[in-house]
């Protein structure tokens, strides 16, 4: 899947040959606390036992293959990873200026929109050291947003928000790192619009359908997870989460973003809710 992931995903990639195997596995297990990819992995093929073990217990599929006496062949191109990191940095540098401008141009945000809130980890050039710190800060941010009455009080672009979805038996800790949130206002109430960043180029009708499906599924998981978290925080009546989101793809041959607004996520949210209810 070279060239298709943002640096949010890159945090959880499972390749690397220099550390010893045990340390490498421990590191990967720690990184896989972000359950978004595990959840999506499970939802893609819920009837496969190996896939279920990998997704539910957070064991990298390469490790499952080794236990089954197979030879794993997975891996990611370092060039693709670097490209993903660079794309995200271009989008979010200068307080997310380029992303904000693009969101205004495509009508996701109003022309007067300002403000940027960054919850990314240091390894992604953000201010936070750990997922727990970022999650705590995100919760405080949502609580403050719930008391705001004026759009000027709330930043319009939020990067790397971390939420912990209330647990279930199968996935007790479901931590989601959300690429981008745009904050709009409807009837004096903030509305969170979920955005998913992908490095692959926007080729119009020729953009790979399977890649788009994965991006939409992830966005659907975010919408579902956000609603649960806002309910748990007691602010669901003050902050809404939109059924429609946006995709941030790259323009072919450049690192400029191509925003695809108004993506219908209703049924992907339903899919996420169904998948979690099956756990």
């Amino acid at each position: 899947v070279a060239g298709t992931r943002s640096s949010r995903d890159i945090q959880h990639q499972t390749v690397g040959s220099s550390p010893p195997r045990s340390r490498q596995v421990a590191q990967v297990m720690n990184e896989r606390r972000d359950t978004r990819l595990r959840f999506e992995q499970w939802a893609r093929n819920p009837s496969c036992e190996a896939n279920r073990i990998s997704a539910v217990h957070g064991v990298p599929m390469a490790e499952v293959v080794r236990r089954e006496h197979g030879q794993p062949t997975m891996g990611q191109s370092p060039f693709a990873l670097a490209r993903g990191q660079m794309f995200e940095q271009v989008l979010l540098r200068n307080n997310g200026l380029r992303l904000r401008e693009s969101l205004i141009q495509t009508g996701v945000l109003p022309a007067s929109a300002t403000g940027f809130q960054d919850f990314r980890l240091r390894q992604n050039r953000g201010p936070f050291r750990t997922l727990d710190e970022a999650r705590e800060a995100t919760s405080v941010f949502f609580k403050n947003m719930a008391t705001a009455t004026d759009p000027g009080q709330v930043p319009v672009v939020v990067a790397g928000a971390v939420v912990c979805v209330p647990g279930r038996a199968m996935l007790p800790e479901a931590i989601l790192v959300i690429d981008v949130l745009a904050v709009t206002w409807v009837a004096r109430r903030p509305v969170l619009v979920v955005g998913e960043v992908k490095t692959y180029p926007d080729r119009g009708g020729y953009t790979d359908g399977a890649e788009l499906a994965t991006a939409r599924a992830q966005a659907g998981v975010y919408v579902h997870g956000l609603r649960q978290v806002l309910t748990e925080l007691g602010v669901a009546d003050r902050i809404a989460v939109a059924d429609r989101g946006f995709l941030v793809l790259s323009r072919p041959g450049s690192n400029r973003p191509s925003i695809r607004a108004n993506e219908d996520l209703r049924y992907q949210v339903e899919r996420a809710a169904r998948a979690r209810s099956l756990q």
Partner: protein, 270 residues
């Protein structure tokens, strides 16, 4: 009919492969005067709630509760009679046919066609009457319609009818049933025999037409894998950027339709 790949137009502002009314409405929706009929004249009262989920707007039923009914005479205690008996209380019932362990046959399903044809014959054998707006009339062959999405299945349906009924009942595809109606419709569910539904299969336009032709009663015949097939399916939104999620919507509507039949105790195993 466009016979070349349309991917290049999927994200165009005015895609030439899509119906013109759809494009014009999308572009000028804010200027358009939209008028909606408040009720369905054709459908029985309880059918409306079943069919309404296929539409983006709300509507009710012209017929009041209990104003229409399909009243079958005394019969045996087999599944066909039980299904016909249910039509006294509700306007839509389903009859399921067991799915073979090796999977259902493709397109031409003789067992399902046989059940649908036997149901049609049984409606007439039992001197069934149609109660509508205070009047009652005995059903004749011309009052019964059959529909399946594939022509090969419609041919099979026709072939399975008793000789004295062949050619006297209208058997056709949902496309050709559009705009028509019958007191009793017997339809083969579009997903019967389809264990791995595609975007084409999940598109609910055909089911919507099939489920909204009856004035009195509808009997849906299907293989019994349907509920499992819909439960197991994880819809994937592979449409081009900015296009509606037809697969997700279709899957949700199919599930809702079938769940309502099941939860209402309207499904009879043949």
């Amino acid at each position: 009919v466009i016979t070349i790949p349309t991917a290049r137009w999927e994200t165009a502002p005015r895609p030439p492969h899509l119906p013109a009314p759809e494009i014009i409405l999308e572009r000028f929706r804010s200027q358009a005067l939209e008028l909606e009929l408040p009720a369905s004249r054709r459908l029985p009262h309880d059918s409306v709630s079943l069919v309404r989920s296929f539409y983006d707007f709300d509507f009710g039923a012209f017929a009041g509760p209990g104003e229409r009914a399909i009243l079958a005479g005394q019969g045996a205690r087999d599944p066909f009679d039980r299904a016909l008996g249910l039509l006294r209380e509700v306007s839509v019932v389903a009859v399921t046919v067991p799915t073979p362990d090796a999977g259902p046959p493709l397109e031409r399903d003789e067992d399902v066609a046989d059940v649908a044809a036997r149901v049609a014959a049984r409606v007439l054998e039992r001197n069934t009457r149609f109660h509508q707006d205070g009047s009652v009339r005995t059903l004749e062959p011309r009052h019964i319609g059959l529909a399946a999405t594939h022509r090969v299945m419609n041919t099979e349906l026709n072939a399975r009818l008793p000789g004295n009924l062949r050619g006297r009942l209208r058997v056709d595809t949902p496309e050709r049933w559009q705009g028509l109606e019958c007191p009793v419709m017997i339809v083969v569910h579009p997903l019967s025999g389809v264990t791995r539904p595609s975007a084409f299969d999940l598109e609910t336009g055909r089911l919507c037409v099939m489920a909204s032709r009856h004035r009195g009663g509808l009997i849906v015949v299907t293989r019994d894998h349907l509920a499992d097939t819909l439960d197991d399916l994880i819809p994937s939104a592979e449409q081009a950027v900015g296009r509606p999620d037809v697969v997700g919507r279709g899957h949700a509507q199919h599930r809702l339709f079938w769940e309502r039949l099941q939860s209402g105790g309207r499904v009879v195993a043949a």
